[in-house]
Each structure stands twice: as structure tokens, then as C-alpha cells.
């Protein structure tokens, strides 16, 4: 039982890692007043970026390429949503479609219809001496790939950055009252563009994590809706990095629970397990019973 529990905790943290990257990025984007539902596109692009480069150049370069690929997709979104002030939902939808198609196309032209199989090197777990020996939670928290530690570090870093730097302040002001931000001399469009590209880079990192820390391969559509789940996580985490980190863990736990239940051989429809993360989130939201405060200018088109 303890074994199963340990495995469950490890699974929780592993599953949560890419979600945390993507959701943290999206949280920053939304704090700047933009909702980027093209995030899914950044994730899949990051995954492809990782698989294409890591084979030859190693996992470090793979992660960097994932970052760049995710950012590049986000840049397309920024071009339309910020520069052209086009509707963010339509643009996001199109960018996701574009990225899913483009990654598929590039993947096939790079690897043929045969695919990359499992030839991609992966980041093994990096046990932190001492800490990883703590029973139960030790392996879950301290014997993970480096990407997990990066995600863990990003949470307080993002909190600090938002609260304690002028740039973070400017970002929040853009999301709350862009007109006021502009009056204070902040270039709102530039801030939002930067946020979107950074968010895309983190989305790309999420994709890179899927490939380089987990699957060891690329599959068309392997992002499997994580971009949309990340958006839900942002709301559940109330746009706060810490909240987002915890919400990602909750989602990770719900998914891991689904795997654990099936592994227990419990004879219930498996769809019930699959639906459980979503039902749990709804429950958590209903019980939290507090009003969520979204950035006041979220999704609004800012006229120059």
C-alpha cells in the first residue's frame, strides 16, 4: 500500500510538472490582460522542438529548443492579438490549429511516417541526496528530473517577480487598467507581447518536459489538451503563482489517482476515472465559495 501511495505521489508530481509550466506562463499572460488559448500550440511546438534537437545535441539543447519553439508560436499569437488587436479567442484557436498542423507536417518531413520511436534521450531523475530519502514524499519531491525542480523554483520566483519588481508591477497594471498603465509611461503592447512570448516559452518548456522528461518520443497531438487544462488551472489557482502551482498539483493528483484506480483493478467504468480530475476541480471551485478575481481587463482589446 505504501508502495502504491509512493507511486501515486510520484505520479502526481510528474504529471503536474508540465501543467505547472504551462499554467504559470499562462497566469503571467493573463495577469497582463491577455488570454492566450493558443497555449496548446506552444506546448506541442515545444515537444517537437525538443525531439528534433535532443537526438543530436542532447537534452539541454532540446529544452532550449522547446523554449524557443513555444515562444515562436506565441509570437504569432502576439502579432495578431496585440499588434492587430484581433479577437484573442479566434486567434488562439487558429494558432493552436496552426501549430498542431505545422508540427505534424514538420515531424513527418523530419522523421517520415515511421516516426522518431524512442530514440530521444531523456532526463533521468536527479535525486537530491538526503531529501530524497524521506519516506513517501522524498522520492516524489526530490527524486525527479531537473525540469520538476525548475517548475518548483519558478513558483516562488514568479511570485517574487510579480510582487517585487517594477516589471511585475507594470505587468499587473496592464491587466488591471491598461489606460492607467499607459498614463504611467508603460508601453502596454510591449509588456503584453513580452508576457505572451514568455508564456509561450514556458508552454514550450511544458512540451519539452513531456518529450524529454517523460515520453522520450514525439507523437502528433501528444499535448492532448494540456493547454486548455492549464487555462483551467490558472483560474483555479486564482492567477497567483502559488495557487497555480497547487492547482497544478491537484490536477496531477487527480490524474495519478485515475491511473492508480485502474491499476488497483477496480471494476468501474474507466471513463469515471478519466473524468475525475475535472469533477474534482468543479468540486474544489464550488467549495472554495469565494469570488475569483480575474484581472479586470482580461481579454479586452486594448486600443492604442
Amino acid at each position: 500500500m505504501a508502495d502504491a501511495l509512493g507511486a501515486f505521489l510520484e505520479g502526481t508530481v510528474r504529471t503536474a510538472t508540465p501543467l505547472a509550466f504551462a499554467a504559470l506562463g499562462e497566469a503571467l499572460v493573463e495577469r497582463s490582460g491577455v488570454i492566450n488559448i493558443g497555449l496548446e500550440g506552444s506546448i506541442i511546438a515545444g515537444a517537437l522542438g525538443g525531439v528534433v534537437t535532443a537526438g543530436g545535441a542532447g537534452t539541454g539543447v532540446g529544452l532550449a529548443a522547446a523554449l524557443v519553439a513555444g515562444a515562436a508560436v506565441a509570437a504569432v499569437f502576439a502579432l495578431f492579438a496585440v499588434k492587430l488587436r484581433a479577437d484573442q479567442i479566434i486567434t488562439g484557436t487558429a494558432v493552436t490549429l496552426l501549430s498542431l498542423g505545422l508540427t505534424g507536417t514538420l515531424y513527418r518531413s523530419a522523421f517520415g511516417t515511421g516516426g522518431a520511436a524512442l530514440g530521444t534521450p531523456t532526463l533521468g531523475p536527479l535525486a537530491i541526496p538526503g531529501l530524497s530519502a524521506i519516506p513517501l514524499v522524498g522520492p516524489a519531491l526530490f527524486a525527479q528530473p531537473i525540469t520538476t525542480y525548475l517548475a518548483m523554483a519558478l513558483v516562488p520566483l514568479a511570485s517574487w517577480w510579480l510582487a517585487r519588481t517594477h516589471a511585475g508591477l507594470a505587468l499587473r497594471a496592464c491587466g488591471e487598467n491598461p489606460a492607467a498603465a499607459r498614463a504611467a509611461g508603460i508601453a502596454v503592447g510591449r509588456v503584453q507581447t513580452a508576457a505572451i512570448i514568455f508564456g509561450g516559452a514556458l508552454g514550450g518548456l511544458a512540451g519539452g518536459t513531456l518529450v524529454l522528461a517523460q515520453a522520450g518520443t514525439f507523437v502528433e497531438g501528444m499535448s492532448a489538451g494540456r493547454g486548455f487544462i492549464a487555462i483551467a488551472i490558472v483560474v483555479l489557482g486564482r492567477w497567483q503563482p502559488l495557487g497555480v502551482g497547487l492547482a497544478a498539483l491537484l490536477f496531477g493528483a487527480a490524474s495519478a489517482l485515475q491511473f492508480a484506480f485502474q491499476a488497483m483493478g477496480w471494476q468501474l467504468p474507466y471513463q469515471l476515472f478519466l473524468a475525475s480530475p475535472y469533477l474534482l476541480t468543479l468540486l474544489a471551485l464550488a467549495l472554495a465559495r469565494s469570488r475569483f478575481v480575474a484581472p479586470a481587463a482580461l481579454g479586452k482589446i486594448v486600443e492604442a
Binding site: 508502495d3 502504491a4 509512493g6 507511486a7 501515486f8 510520484e10 505520479g11 510528474r14 504529471t15 508540465p18 505534424g104 515531424y107 513527418r108 522523421f111 511516417t113 515511421g114 516516426g115 520511436a117 524512442l118 531523456t122 513531456l210 517523460q214 515520453a215 522520450g216 518520443t217 507523437v219 502528433e220 497531438g221 501528444m222 492532448a224 490524474s255 495519478a256 491511473f259 492508480a260 485502474q262 491499476a263 488497483m264 483493478g265 474507466y270 471513463q271 478519466l274
Partner: protein, 319 residues
């Protein structure tokens, strides 16, 4: 309009070889179910000089429309690759008598409508025998993409095979919920491994790669499916249950080209060498000799038809 033009188009095509179309329900880069069929289409093109066309369908909306379009363009042979295509094929075939519609696993037969049936479970049974013999814990895992009839049937056959070797073997069965999420596949596999499973049979197309990856990392065995996946992780995959889709599709297309195709349910299994159980030569030593022997004898029984597997509600086992 139905069937005004096919005569003319068919006439043209007769000169330049036959025209063959394929509808797949998923991406052809999955190295499994869809990729195999596409390889078949390519082989038809190369071997028969056929003119070919392929569509990946997204939803049932696409079925009728494409069947109809191919019919009206005078295609000679249209494959619907999966059980889900059979009703649409039956609906449309009536209107385009000059086109032959074949659905892999359809059971409706009409003048220009046929079904194909792969006895994938025969291979799965053999895989189960081998899996049980190499398992130390006696716990085996089966992980599918979604719960489809052929997948379910193959898992049942796998279990039967395993229990024939080790009656106490325990087989865990679960589904990922889709065919693409490699990462979820891996997590599912890790959960099974944590429960003690040390051989994993996967039938999850692309997501199956995640299962193999988990097996590789945790140094347990995995079983390949659909295509020969022994090379994907040579130190991990004990063997593969292969459907030789290219061979199967080519056989049908050749019959159509040579104009001796008769509409029927084309059953293909171990005896036709379309379904195979292929042990990974690198790991052949891990399999006890006596098991290899009994696998061979069961294979012979299945091929001769003197043994029948009671899995699923019908003998159908393909998608």
C-alpha cells in the same frame, strides 16, 4: 448527384491501373494501426501502379461524404480502415455499384461491399503465454487507448494465454482514454509497475510508446502490438503481435485489379501470416524453451483451426 460520372472516370482509370482510396480514423504516423494501413496503400501504389488517395477522418461526418466522393469519382476500391466505417459503407455502396467498399472488420456483405477480419487475438494469446512465462511477479498489465472491441478481445485472449501457462497469473486491464497522450500512457504503465506488473501488453497506438518507455526505464518487459515493434526498444520488448496490414490490403487490391474479387468477409489470422507473433530475437533467451515449444504447438493448432478462442461476442477482433 450519384453515379453520373463514374462510368467515364472508371473507363479512364482502367487504362492507367486501378484507383484505390483509404480512410483512416487516425494519423498515419502512429507506427501502428493507421500507419500500417497507409503502408499498405503505398505498397498497392508501388506494386500495382495504382492511383491512390488517402483521407484521415475526424468524425463520422467525414465517412459518408468521402465514401460518396470516391464513389462518384469512380474509384475501384475504397478501404474504410476500422469497424466504425461499416455502416456508412453499407449506406453508400448501394449508390455506387462500380466501386468496391471494404471495411476492415465490417460483416455486412453485398454486391460491392466486403469486410476484413484480423484474428489479432490469436497472436495476443501467444503473447500472453510468453508474458506469463517471463513474469516473476505473476502480475501482467494490459493497457489500451480506448475500449474498442478488438482491443478488448486482444486483452481477453492475452489473459487466456497467460492463464494457460500460469493459472494464478493476474492480469490488470486499463485504458488511457485516447491514442495520442504518450505521457499519460507512461504514467498508467508506471502505476501498473508500482502494483507489481512486470510485463505490459499495450494496444494504444502512438500512446503505447509511453508504455514501452516506462517498461524500459523500470526494466520490465513490454509487448509490441500491431506493427513489429521489437526494434523500438530491443532490450525491453519481448515480442510483438503483428498485423501485416500491407500484405492484407495488397492481397485484396490485387484481387480487385485482376477482377476476381468476390464480396465476403475476409478472415485473416495466423494461418495467413497476416497476424504473427514475433519474439524479439535479442530476448529469445529469456523465454523458457518449453514455452517456446508450447507456443509453437498452440500456433499450429490455431492455424489449423482446431483451436478456437472464445473471446469477444463475435470472432471479430480488428478495428
Amino acid at each position: 448527384g450519384k453515379g453520373e460520372k463514374p462510368a467515364a472516370a472508371g473507363h479512364d482509370a482502367a487504362k492507367s491501373g486501378i484507383r484505390v482510396a483509404l480512410l483512416t480514423p487516425g494519423p498515419i504516423s502512429d507506427q501502428a494501426w493507421n500507419g500500417g494501413a497507409y503502408a499498405g496503400l503505398m505498397r498497392i501504389k508501388d506494386s500495382l501502379g495504382a492511383q491512390v488517395s488517402h483521407v484521415q477522418t475526424k468524425s463520422p461526418q467525414d465517412f459518408d461524404e468521402n465514401f460518396r466522393q470516391y464513389g462518384s469519382q469512380g474509384y475501384d476500391l475504397v478501404f474504410g480502415h476500422g469497424f466504425e466505417f461499416q455502416e456508412a459503407a453499407a449506406r453508400v455502396a448501394k449508390d455506387f455499384p462500380k466501386t468496391i467498399y471494404v471495411t476492415t472488420s465490417g460483416h455486412t456483405v453485398a454486391a460491392n461491399l466486403a469486410g476484413m477480419d484480423f484474428a489479432f487475438e490469436e497472436g495476443a494469446y501467444l503473447a500472453g503465454m510468453v508474458a506469463a512465462s517471463v513474469s516473476k511477479s505473476g502480475i501482467l498489465g494490459c493497457i489500451g487507448g480506448t475500449e474498442l472491441p478488438p482491443v478488448k478481445a486482444s486483452f481477453k485472449a492475452f489473459e487466456l494465454g497467460a492463464k494457460s501457462v500460469n493459472p494464478k497469473a493476474q492480469v490488470l486491464t486499463g485504458y488511457i482514454g485516447n491514442w495520442e497522450d504518450v505521457s499519460a500512457g507512461k504514467e498508467q504503465a508506471l502505476a501498473y509497475i508500482a502494483r507489481g506488473a512486470d510485463v505490459l501488453f499495450q494496444n494504444a497506438d502512438a500512446a503505447g510508446l509511453g508504455i514501452i518507455q516506462a517498461a524500459r526505464e523500470r526494466k520490465v518487459f513490454a509487448v509490441g502490438a500491431n506493427a513489429d515493434q521489437n526494434g523500438v526498444a530491443p532490450e525491453t520488448i519481448i515480442g510483438s503481435v503483428v498485423i501485416d496490414l500491407p500484405h492484407a490490403l495488397l492481397t485484396v487490391a490485387r484481387e480487385v485489379q485482376e477482377k476476381h474479387f468476390t464480396p465476403r468477409v475476409i478472415s485473416l489470422g495466423l494461418k495467413d501470416e497476416v497476424v504473427r507473433w514475433t519474439v524479439n530475437p535479442k530476448l529469445a533467451n529469456a523465454v523458457p524453451a518449453n514455452i517456446t515449444k508450447s507456443v509453437d504447438s498452440v500456433r499450429a493448432l490455431l492455424r489449423s483451426g482446431s483451436m478456437h478462442l472464445p473471446v469477444g461476442a463475435t470472432s471479430d477482433s480488428s478495428r
